[in-house]
Symmetry: C2
Subunit: 249 residues, 2 copies
């Protein structure tokens, strides 16, 4: 048996999410089916994160255990051939030690959220960004975001379906910047609660629009109450961009 | 009657092209239908360029003549409302003099061609870039491209369906640069022949792969023969990015 670490890029639009569910096609099912087609084995994929329907990934990390003797490059090429026409690509593949686990070994996760701040409907970026018509003050959003950095009880920013044992998490970074008509939010932490990034972005957008003042975000955090959430940003602006592991640069 | 200049952004994937055709949905038909829905008038749209099926636009310029009294901003909003769910957006709209013509007044056109230079199939960029697996030498492509800049007979780089009176055109700029895994080609001229940009990009890609030497592009140009064309790049990597008019900055 060899354990292979996979780096996955995918368009989350047609999937119920990363994780296998009875309700529709998932990224996990597509990769497991492709691995079965390549090896004839019943393969289970484990991933660093569990993204929702519509959420994208530029570099999700995952692993699979394969009995068949196969080189990493050959496995990657064969998986990509079988993944067509699903919008999932294996962009890197490496053999790793048996105790390397995509989820449990992961020590850092990073997301990016893309807002298209314009009046016109999206065309080429449809399902790739959240269109916000009202002008956003990205500097005010960045200032407000700093209240969330650090170790906090994030109950306000947690989905009611969240399965984490504790609402206390340490947010390492939450940066907001403008790039032309886009406002980009970058978030990094060891781990996140369900809907945490989207909930934080929704509240920051309220600040950006001037509907909340800068202190509103800190107040929502202090409330430790989902009812204090101003807005949950839609999934299609969210990208999983990085997972970190010990010993990786 | 007021003439309105429109700036259009569109995803060319679902259209037979910009120009109205009996064979399927076009950008022209969608905009004319939207204008009819807004005004009740039979409106004809004229555009700066005629893009093929699959070719995108970030800022195509066009004009329509409208009898109904309407402010440019209101017209833009109403057109966008009626264009849904087509992936076409009016991103700017202004009243212009009656002798301003989107096609005949245009004194410069610019295209961008995006190549995703990677082995893995495209996911988020599917239909948005040309995937080329073999490593490309962008510097060699840029050097080769300079042989095409200037006034030349571009017969080699012209579709057999091209309706232009003469194959002689002046190419103002053809720049190739690498941006991470992408290779970007920028082309600017007063006007282009049908398939000219895609034909030039196809030959430059052959140089980038090492299948043609740098002099191969100049040789193909000198042949003035469509048979000398090495490769026509696919439409879905091509973006119409700019049209210039006298008096605009």
């Amino acid at each position: 048996m060899t354990r292979f670490a996979l780096t996955l890029e995918f368009d989350g639009t047609p999937f119920v999410g990363l994780q296998r569910q009875a309700t529709g096609p998932s990224v996990q099912q597509a990769v497991e089916d492709a691995a079965h087609a390549v090896t004839g084995e019943a393969v289970t994929m484990h991933a660093a994160g569990r993204t929702d329907t519509g959420v994208h990934a530029l570099a999700m990390r995952a692993h699979v255990d394969i009995e068949k003797a196969i080189e990493p490059f050959r496995l990657m090429e064969a998986l990509n051939a079988h993944l067509r026409p699903d919008p999932i690509a294996v962009i890197a593949c490496a053999a790793v030690p048996d105790d390397w686990h995509a989820r449990f070994s992961c020590i850092g996760r990073a997301y990016e959220y893309r807002i298209a701040n314009r009046r016109a409907p999206l065309t080429l970026e449809r399902n790739r960004a959240w269109q916000v018509a009202r002008p956003l003050d990205a500097d005010a959003m960045h200032t407000a975001a700093q209240a969330l950095v650090g170790r906090h009880d994030f109950t306000t920013f947690r989905s009611v379906q969240c399965q984490a044992a504790s609402p206390v998490k340490t947010l390492d970074r939450l940066d907001v910047r403008r790039e032309g008509e886009h406002v980009i939010v970058e978030a990094a932490a060891r781990s996140f609660l369900h809907h945490q990034v989207r909930s934080m972005v929704g509240c920051l957008a309220l600040v950006g629009m001037g509907r909340w003042n800068i202190g509103g975000v800190a107040k929502a955090l202090a409330a430790r109450d989902r009812q204090a959430l101003g807005l949950n940003a839609p999934p299609h602006g969210l990208y999983f961009v990085k997972a970190e592991y010990p010993g990786e640069a």
